[in-house]
């Protein structure tokens, strides 16, 4: 859904409303909050129920946006999305928005999986390495997976950079088998 044309269109429309980077970042965070609420099972089920009328659904989304204290463009977006029956696409719209915003701001998102809980210096060092490689600002999401035994695995722009001990061990086993 992340790359669906509908989500891209809505995200592009929101991005086109401002050129202020800070504001765009704020909207991204607000959109993420809205999508999280809209994606919550109890709310999603209630909003998708055929018992709820279209008007009630639009009103509910407007109320949610107001309660979340979203900025005016995000409240408008919530109402437009509800009016066009695209509430289920909110998460995809949020993800697409983040992707497009990253491209706009020259950023890349990476997932770093460490074998042990890393300290800030280790994370920063790996992020610097990745930034030097892609020549973009890298926003990292850190995970821990003990199955890696040691080292780190970085996933960035669809590529995997594997520096884990488990992989090295597997390669050594494959070489032994011949």
């Amino acid at each position: 859904m992340k790359g669906s044309r509908v989500a891209k269109r809505y995200a592009r429309a929101l991005l086109g409303l401002s050129e202020d980077r800070t504001q765009l970042e704020t909207w991204g965070a607000e959109l993420e909050r809205l999508a999280r609420i809209g994606d919550a099972p109890e709310i999603a089920l209630r909003l998708a129920s055929p018992e709820v009328s279209h008007e009630a659904r639009v009103a509910a989304m407007a109320k949610i946006a107001e309660r979340l204290d979203l900025s005016y463009p995000l409240r408008s977006l919530a109402v437009v999305v509800a009016r066009h029956g695209r509430i289920a696409n909110l998460t995809a719209i949020s993800e697409s928005y983040q992707d497009q915003l990253d491209v706009l701001l020259g950023r890349a998102r990476a997932t770093l999986t460490f074998a042990r809980e890393p300290n800030a210096q280790d994370t920063a060092a790996v992020v610097r390495g990745l930034e030097a490689m892609v020549r973009k600002t890298v926003i990292a999401t850190v995970k821990v997976d003990q199955a890696l035994l040691g080292g780190v695995v970085a996933e960035l722009e669809g590529k995997i950079y594997d520096g884990s001990l488990a992989t090295r061990l597997s390669e050594a086993e494959r070489r032994l088998v011949g």
Binding site: R116, P118, G129, A132, L149, G151, V152, L165, L169, A172
Partner: protein
């Protein structure tokens, strides 16, 4: 036919009755002595002539036809017999000729059979040789494959055991310094891949 059916009946009756009349005349004439014998002879001659005429006229054609048919049948039978005889003679001649050639044919057949047998024996020998070579080749290949598979299996088992041991060792003895060293190595790798 000159005489009709009725005429023929009348004529037949006359012939049958005339001798009776003649015999009566002779009996009467016997009394007249001498003058009746000429008449009697004439009567006999005439009677005989009529008998001959009837015989020739009525019995002649069927008899002639019968004999003509019989003659033609005999001729045909004879001709057939002659043809059959000639044919039998030809067959006998041919049989004699073949009998005379039989020995030569026998020799020829024996020579042909010997040649064919030798050819087949050579072929079978050649096929057996090729089959033996193929079996040897297949056996060698199979042996090599089995050896390779066994070696591979042993290597896989060794690798698995080694990997298991190595994992256990790493889990037990891996420390923060090792992790830091691995991270440095990873950063160096990233630096190498980074565009200059």
């Amino acid at each position: 036919m000159i005489v009709g059916k009725r005429g023929a009946v009348i004529l037949t009756c006359a012939v049958l009755l005339l001798p009776a009349a003649g015999w009566c005349a002779e009996a009467a004439g016997g009394e007249a002595a001498g003058s009746g014998s000429w008449l009697s002879l004439l009567f006999y001659v005439f009677n005989f002539a009529v008998f001959v005429w009837i015989l020739v006229h009525y019995a002649g054609p069927p008899a002639r036809k019968f004999f003509a048919d019989r003659a033609s049948g005999i001729k045909e039978t004879f001709a057939r017999a002659e043809a059959t005889y000639k044919e039998a003679q030809d067959l006998a001649n041919r049989a004699a000729e073949r009998m005379s050639r039989l020995e030569a044919e026998k020799q020829q057949i024996r020579a042909d059979l010997d040649a064919e047998t030798a050819h087949m024996a050579n072929r079978i020998r050649e096929m057996a040789r090729e089959t033996a070579l193929r079996i040897v080749r297949d056996t060698e290949l199979t042996g090599a494959a089995i050896t390779e598979a066994a070696q591979r299996h042993v290597r896989a088992m060794l690798a698995e055991a080694t990997g298991r041991l190595a994992r256990e060792l790493m889990i037990n003895s891996f420390n923060d310094d090792d992790q830091a060293r691995l991270l440095r190595s990873f950063e160096e790798r990233l630096a190498q891949e980074a565009p200059r």
